[in-house]
Amino acid sequence: MRIEPKMQDPEVRINNFEEVNLGYTDEEAIAEAQRCRLCGACVKGCPVGIDIPAFVNSIAKGKFRQAIDIIRQFSVLPAVCGRVCPQENQCEKECILSRKGEPINIGALERFVADKFSEKETFDIPKVGKSAGIIGSGPAGLTAAYELRKAGFDVTIYESLHAPGGVLRYGIPNFRLPDKIIDKEVDYLLSLGVKLQLNFLIGKTVYINELLEIHDGLLIATGAGLPSRLNIPGENGVGVYLANEFLTRINLMHAYEFPIYHTPIKKFSKVVVVGGGNVAMDSARVARRLGADVTIVYRREEEDMPARREERIHAKEEGINFITLANPVEIILDEYKNVKQIKLEKMKVSGKGLDGRNKIEGTLEYFTIDADAVITAIGQTPNRIIQENVKGLNLDSHGRVIVDENLKTSLNRVWAAGDIVTGAATVILAMGEAKRAAADMIKTL
């Protein structure tokens, strides 16, 4: 039987922002690890190629230190990935035991050993006399910084916000990824000699060509932070949030601790969240914790939702309503432009798309839901500040930076990785790309 870690009780956790998943005990971790057949199928599902059977086998033998050392050879963010990776679509999907519906809980095991060791691993860093600038301190930036530093580069990370972590910090709530986990991962990099320059927005505070004067190479890892909008009437109403704003208020600015923290958030009574990804789940669960009755509306079927399975399950346990096959057409405002209702069109399935998800079409039947806030979480597009302030950087029609097979951009000595290249994807994919970019930087520079 697959062993699930203990969770905070839903009735309790909807009143706090503490982590929901409480993690394994030593005994649970060993028992879960001992189920592994060591076939190695999982590795091909991991974008950073972690030697999963090796670390799981170490846990099975109670050699926890050995397990984390194995993971660290491949990933600088195990405590993060153990928490936020969509394992069911990656390593656990390939697990031979998944055929019986009980794959090894690889995510929980990774998290277990990552949390177990807070002391810093130190190793000799060669001196190569090269310098790299990393733009953005999200998962891609942190991963590349680690790889480049290990290879002996002087590394400086530039971050526009006042705290590092990128989307890990502003996007993912504390009940899923506590701040102290991000701090721990970043502190580890700093202990290796990586420099971090906060409050630097490259393209405004300094320009790319200036950075090229002080660094041998640059990596653009600025992510996909620009929210997509519904483009329907009423979306500038009071109480309509792009999920980024709602989550940034909560995660980066700690508005849920107002007035101890000074950034406010309103107490809403009925919140509608639009979207089916992790950002939608996070927004809904935050709104629930602020005391609202929450409904998620999604235009396709639940099985098509891109969100992690665990987040969907947790959302439901927390009493969040799901309405699927419903597409917003208008946010209805009162005379003071406050949100009053959201009007939706009923959708119906009209076959399967190439990606295996249901295709949908409108029915011209409409219904409304009462709400005093609407949060839209329908995707993000690449940040644009750098692109607008440098000449010669080639972009595609979506504003993504175009790279070659080694993740080099059209600018000399400049690479790019993560969501800025792929569009909004996952933490682990960004990390995989960043590793490849760093490898090419090390080889070329």
Binding site: S160, L161, H162, Y170, L198, N199, F200, L201, K204, T205, V206, Y207, G225, L226, P227, R229, E235, N236, V238, G239, L242, N244, E245, T248, R249, L252, M253, H254, F258, P259, I260, Y261, H262, T263, P264, K266, Y336, K337, N383, R384, I385
Partner: protein, 277 residues
């Protein structure tokens, strides 16, 4: 020197302060019209402030602010040699003066005079154009930067609500007055409270004078990420932080902005029970 260290602090009017602080990157990358975002304490909010001036030789940046809430109150309590915790900038776009411009009318109301100042400098000193300035305040004591502006502007017309300084009247009266003095303007820049900018825009539309306003809505990151500063501009949605902060006034939906800026009034008052509330 440490970044963001306050070099000079002056009280320039009731509840209004001018800081010069050290920040080489902002000082050297600034163009008139841009703003910054700052935070004073680790529990604090991020607030946008227009950059009032820079000294590129000494790497100094000037901000002027009035104590209107918790963050500006905390900021006002910093002393010379203190460090401002976080400063991000310069943000947004500078204001580009259209080719062929000969004469500009600049209108500043209340604290809007501070963000107007770098634009007056840009037009009068850097471009050597005619820059007439209408300044408005509730009363004499609330005027800021009048001497500094008088030194560089072509004409300065002062208007107060109570007549305690200059003419009695609103800045819209000031615009009519400036025009009545046989002045012709290629365009107008108006900065101040939203209601003032709305009133100016209604007037200049009638007078057929192209007008620009600098917007200061609620922002968090200031880099285009959160969308809190969005508003309707013609038929498009714009983000004031990355698309502005200076916009063609005739396309700005002021009513949209007014409602959005009021969103957190209750919480803002709960947090800050200052004297002028």
């Amino acid at each position: 020197m440490e970044r963001n260290k306050i070099i000079l602090k002056e009280k320039i009017a009731e509840n209004t302060y001018s800081f010069w602080f050290y920040n080489p990157e902002i000082a050297t990358h600034f163009s008139a019209g841009q703003f910054l975002i700052l935070r004073v304490v680790k529990e604090g909010e991020r607030i946008p402030l227009t950059i009032a001036d820079v000294n590129k030789e000494k790497n100094l940046v000037r901000i002027i602010f009035q104590v209107v809430g918790e963050t500006t109150d905390l900021l006002s309590k910093l002393k010379e040699d203190d460090i401002i915790l976080d400063v991000l900038g310069p943000l947004g776009h500078g204001f580009e003066i259209p080719d062929g411009t000969k004469s500009v009318l600049l209108v500043g109301g209340g604290l809007g005079i501070a963000p107007l100042f770098p634009k007056i400098k840009e037009i009068a000193i850097n471009h050597k154009l005619k820059a007439d300035v209408v300044l408005g305040a509730r009363s004499k004591d609330l005027f800021i930067l009048v001497d500094e502006i008088s030194n560089i502007a072509s004409n300065v017309y002062l208007f107060t609500d109570d007549g305690s300084s200059g003419h009695k009247g609103l800045v819209t009266d000031g615009i009519n007055y400036a025009i009545s003095q046989n002045n012709k303007y290629d365009f107008c820049i108006a900065i101040g409270p939203i209601l003032m900018m709305k009133a100016v825009t209604e007037l200049t539309k009638k007078l057929n004078i192209p007008t620009y306003v600098s917007l200061n809505p609620i922002m968090i990151d200031g880099t285009g990420m959160c969308g809190g500063c969005r508003f309707l501009y013609g038929n498009e949605v714009k983000f004031a932080c990355v698309d502005g902060p200076v916009f063609n006034a005739f396309k700005v939906n002021f009513d949209d902005l007014i409602q959005r800026n009021r969103q957190y009034r209750e919480q803002e008052c709960q947090l800050f029970k200052g004297e002028n509330r």
